[in-house]
C-alpha cells in the first residue's frame, strides 16, 4: 500500500514534539468521508455527504503526559497542537507505569486484512438510494399491518488511520464499510410496534440483498404486535443472537484491564478460575479478514492478535493495553484503543462466543415455559457487582415453541450467576458488527412484570 502524505505528517509531528521537549510522543491522524441516504415512505428524506480529518498528539515528558487534538491542519493549527500537549505535561502527575509500549512490542501484522473495498468509493448515489428504497419497499409491502416506517438508510464510510510514535513505529491502513438498514412500524388495533434489521460489510458486494433486510425488519416488527405483560416469575431465559451479543459487551467491560486494576469488575482477581459454564469459550480476535473489529495494529502500534478470554468456562485473559499490562504485571494483549487523543484506552477486536451444536429451534424446544428476549433496554448493568437488571421485550416460550409477544418487563440476575448458568449455546453465530454471540439459554432469571 502506498504511504499517504499524512503518514509523513504524523512522523513530522512526533519529531516536532521531541524538539519541543517531549521525551516520547505518539501521533494519530484520521481522515474519512461519510455518505448517508435516508428514504422514508418511498421518498428521499435526506442525503448527507462530507469529509473530515483531524490530528491528535500525546506526549510524555519523563513520566508526565499531555494530549491535544485539532481539526485545523494549517501550519498555525499544528504549532498550537504541539504547544498544547507540551503545556499540559506541566499539570499531570508523574506516573511510574505511564509510557509507550517497548520497541520490541511494536509492529503490524502482515497480509491483507480486507478492511478496504474499492467498490464503496465508486458507488453511484443513485444506487445507494435505490438500495434504501428497495429495503423499505420490501418492508412496507410485506404485510398490510406494516402501515408506517421510520425509513431505510444506506450509509458508507471510507477512512484512513495513521499512527506514528517516537519508538520508531509508523503505520497506516485504509478501511471502508457500508450498511443498509430498515425500520418499519406495524399496527394492529391499538398496538403499534417498531423494529429494525440491517446488513453491513466492508464492501458493497458483501451486503445481504435489500429485499431480505426489509422483509426481516417487517417480520420482526410484526411479531412484536399485541404484547402482554407477564406476571413476575423466575424462568429460563433464551437470548437471540442480537441480544446475546450484549452479554459479551457486558463481559468486555468486566475483563477490561482498567476495570481490573481498579477492582471495578466482578472478574478482578479471577484469572484461572471457573467463571462461566463449561460450554462457554470467548475469543477476541482482531486478525479475522474483512470483519469490523480487525486491524493490523492497535492504537499504540502493537500488532493485533487472537486472545482467548474464556476457555471451557475458565477465565484465561483480560484485555489489556500497555498501561493496564504494566499495572497488572502482565503483557499487553494489543487491545489499545483511542480516539484522536488522550491516553490509550482499551477496546476489543472481534469479540465472540464460540458456537455450540444445537440450532436456535432446538434450544427453544428445550424450554417448557420461558422468555425469548429479542430486545433489551437501558443501562442497568453494574460490572462492579455483576448486578444485572434491564428492560426487555420478546416472545414467550410455551412447550418449546414461541407463543406470544411480551413487552414492558424486566429481566434481572447477576452476571456471575448468569455466566455459570449458560445451559445451551446455539450454532447460529454470525458477525453483524465486531461483537457476536449465538443463541444462548440461561437456566433461570427473574422476569419482572405484573
Amino acid at each position: 500500500m502506498s504511504e499517504s502524505h499524512l503518514s509523513g505528517l504524523a512522523r513530522e509531528l512526533v519529531g516536532r514534539a521531541l524538539e519541543a521537549g517531549a521525551s516520547d510522543a505518539e501521533c494519530t491522524i484520521a481522515e474519512g468521508e461519510e455518505f448517508s441516504a435516508n428514504v422514508r415512505m418511498r421518498e428521499i428524506e435526506s442525503l448527507k455527504e462530507a469529509g473530515s480529518r483531524g490530528a491528535g498528539l500525546r506526549i510524555m515528558k519523563g513520566r508526565t503526559t499531555g494530549s491535544s487534538y485539532t481539526s485545523d491542519l494549517s501550519r498555525e493549527g499544528l504549532d498550537r497542537l504541539v504547544a498544547a500537549a507540551i503545556e499540559l505535561a506541566e499539570i499531570t502527575t508523574g506516573d511510574p507505569h505511564a509510557g509507550l509500549p517497548d520497541a520490541d512490542e511494536l509492529g503490524s501484522i502482515d497480509g491483507d486484512l480486507g478492511l478496504y473495498s474499492a467498490d464503496v468509493e465508486g458507488l453511484e448515489t443513485e444506487r445507494k438510494i435505490e438500495a434504501a428504497r428497495c429495503a423499505e419497499e420490501a418492508a412496507l409491502s410485506a404485510d398490510p399491518r406494516i402501515f408506517n416506517s421510520e425509513g431505510a438508510s444506506f450509509e458508507t464510510h471510507v477512512g484512513r488511520h495513521i499512527f506514528a510514535n517516537s519508538r520508531g513505529f509508523a503505520g497506516e491502513y485504509r478501511s471502508s464499510y457500508c450498511s443498509l438498514s430498515a425500520a418499519p412500524v406495524a399496527r394492529d388495533g391499538e398496538s403499534m410496534e417498531r423494529d429494525y434489521w440491517y446488513t453491513l460489510a466492508r464492501g458493497f458486494a458483501g451486503l445481504e440483498p435489500a429485499e431480505q433486510v426489509g422483509r426481516m425488519a417487517a417480520e420482526r416488527a410484526l411479531r412484536r404486535l399485541n404484547p402482554v405483560k407477564v406476571p413476575t416469575q423466575k424462568v429460563p431465559v433464551v437470548f437471540e443472537p442480537r441480544t446475546a451479543r450484549t452479554l459479551l459487551d457486558n463481559l468486555f467491560e468486566a475483563v477490561h484491564g482498567m476495570a481490573i486494576y481498579r477492582h471495578e469488575s466482578f472478574l478482578a482477581g479471577k484469572l484461572g478460575q471457573k467463571v462461566a459454564a463449561g460450554n462457554v469459550t470467548v475469543i477476541d480476535d482482531a486478525t479475522l479478514p474483512g470483519l469490523f473489529g480487525s486491524s493490523p495494529f492497535d492504537d499504540e502500534g502493537v500488532p493485533s492478535r487472537r486472545t482467548v478470554v474464556i476457555e471451557g468456562g475458565v477465565l484465561k485473559s483480560y484485555l489489556l493495553n500497555s498501561y493496564a499490562a504494566r499495572k497488572l504485571g502482565l503483557k499487553t494483549t494489543g487491545n489499545a484503543s483511542r480516539g484522536l487523543t488522550g491516553n490509550a484506552g482499551i477496546g476489543h477486536g472481534n469479540l465472540y462466543l464460540e458456537k455450540g451444536a444445537p440450532t436456535a429451534e432446538q434450544v427453544i424446544a428445550g424450554v417448557a415455559d420461558g422468555f425469548y428476549v429479542t430486545e433489551l433496554m437501558g443501562f442497568g448493568v453494574n460490572v462492579v457487582t455483576g448486578d444485572y437488571s434491564r428492560g426487555a421485550a420478546g416472545l414467550w416460550i410455551r412447550n418449546g415453541e414461541l407463543a406470544y409477544a411480551v413487552s414492558e418487563v424486566t429481566i434481572a440476575g447477576n452476571l456471575k450467576d448468569m455466566l455459570l448458568n449458560i445451559e445451551a449455546v446455539g450454532a447460529d453465530l454470525e458477525f453483524r458488527g465486531s461483537v457476536a454471540a449465538p443463541t444462548l439459554k440461561i437456566g433461570e432469571m427473574t422476569v419482572g412484570g405484573k
Binding site: K48, G54, S71, M377, S389, R390, G391, S407, A412, V447
Partner: protein
Amino acid sequence: MQFSESIFTTRFAISRQDLENYLAEALSQGGDYADLYFEYLLTSSISIDESMVKSAAQGVSMGVGVRVIAGERTGYAYSDDLAPEKIRKAARVAAHIAAGPGRTGSFGLNEGVSHNLYPVVTAPTETAFTERVELVKRADKAARAADPRVFQVQAVYADNLRYTLVATSDGVLALDRQPLARMSVWALARQDGGAPQRGHAGGGGRVELGYFLNEKTPEHFAREAAREAVAMLDAVEAPAGEMTVVLGPGWPGILLHEAVGHGLEADFNRKGVSAFSGRIGQKVASELCTVVDDGTLSGRRGSLNVDDEGRATRRNVLIENGVLRGYLQDRLSSTLMHAESTGSGRRESYAHIPMPRMTNTFMLAGQSDPEEILRSVPKGLYCVNFGGGQVDITSGNFVFSASESYMIEDGKLTRPVRNATLIGNGPEALKYVSMVGNDLRLDEGIGTCGKEGQSVPVGVGIPTIKIDRMTVGGTA
C-alpha cells in the same frame, strides 16, 4: 455579541456578503430553505485516578454545516475547513437535494435580540490549567477523607467553549458563545474484604470556574459519591414486580425525559411513529402533573440563548394538569406541521443535521410535603439516584435504572437495595402519579441525551412524587 466582533469575522474573515453568497450557492438548485451553521469549539479535560493526575487533554475543532430543505427533503454537507472554496463546495453538495430554479437576491440577514442566559465573562476553558487541575485533586482527597471504606477514587473535570454562528435564508443571523463545564466523581467502597460498591456524583453548567469554588465544590461532589458508595454496601436484593414507587427530587426527573419528553419530539409525531402521536388535548397523566421543557433557565446545562437553527429558546408546556399540550418543534417539522418552532432544533456539531430535542425538562412543584408522601406508603421503593434511561418511541415503553434506592416499609425508609431497572409505558405511567411534592429540584448538571447518534447536554428536574404502580426489575 455583534457579528463584526465574532471569531468568525475576526479570525476567519467571514463577511455578511460571504454568508449571503454561501446561502445563494446552497439554494442555486432551488429549495425552500437553507442554513449555515458555523462552529468553533475548544475543549479540555483533566482526570485523576489513584490520586495521580493521569491525563490532561485540550483540543480545537471547527467546521461549517450547510443544509438545504426542499419540501420534506434535506440535503446536508459539511466542511472542517473554513476556506471559502471548501464552504462553497459543501453548499453545492447540499444543493443537490433540490431541483428547480435557483434563488437570487439578498436574504436580508439580520441579528435579532436574543437572551443572555450565561453572562460568563471568563469561560472555564479560558482559565489557567493550574487552577482547573486543583478541582480534581481536591475531589480525590475529599472522597478518600469522607469515609475509610472508600479505596478507589476517579474524578474528571471537563469543559468546552463553543462559538456558533447561524445564518438562514429566512434572514436569521444568530451568534452565540456557549461555555459548559462539568465535574464527575466516582468512588469505590468496600468493607471487611467484601465486594466493592460504586457511587457517583457530578454536576456543572454554563458557568464560570468560580461555580466550582463557591457553589458546588469538588468536596460536595466527592462526599456525595462516597456517601452513595458506602450506603450501597449494605444493599439487599431489589424487589421484582409492580409496586408503589416514590421518586426523590432532582435527577430522578430523568423519568420525564424518557417517559414523555422524547415521545413529544415533533419529528416522531409528524411521522406518526410516536405513542403520543395524535394525542394533543388528551389526558396522558394525572391532573397533578404539569411538565415543561425550558431552555431559558440561567446557567443551566440544557439552556441555550438560541437553538442550533438560530431561534430563541422558550419555555414550552408539554403537559398541563395532565393534558397533553404540545410538541417540541424544529424548523423542518414545524413547517410541515404548520406549527410554530419552539426553539428546540439542536445538533451535536456542525457535522450533524438538527432535530427536535429537549433542553431542561421538569415537573412543576405540587402541594405535598415530601415527608408526608413517604409516610403514606405502606410498602414500596424510594429511588433517589439513577443511571441512564431509554425509551422505545413507538410502543412508548421506557426504562430508567436506579443506582440508589431504599425499601419503604410502613412509611419509613428501611434497607438500601441493589441496582434495579424501572420500566413503564409513557402515555400510561404518569396517570398513576397520586402525590406531587412541594420540593421541585433541578439536577446538578450531569445529563447528556443521545438520539440517532447525536449527543447534546440536557437538564431534568422533578419534585418528590409518588407513583402508585410501576414495575421494578429486581430479583427478590
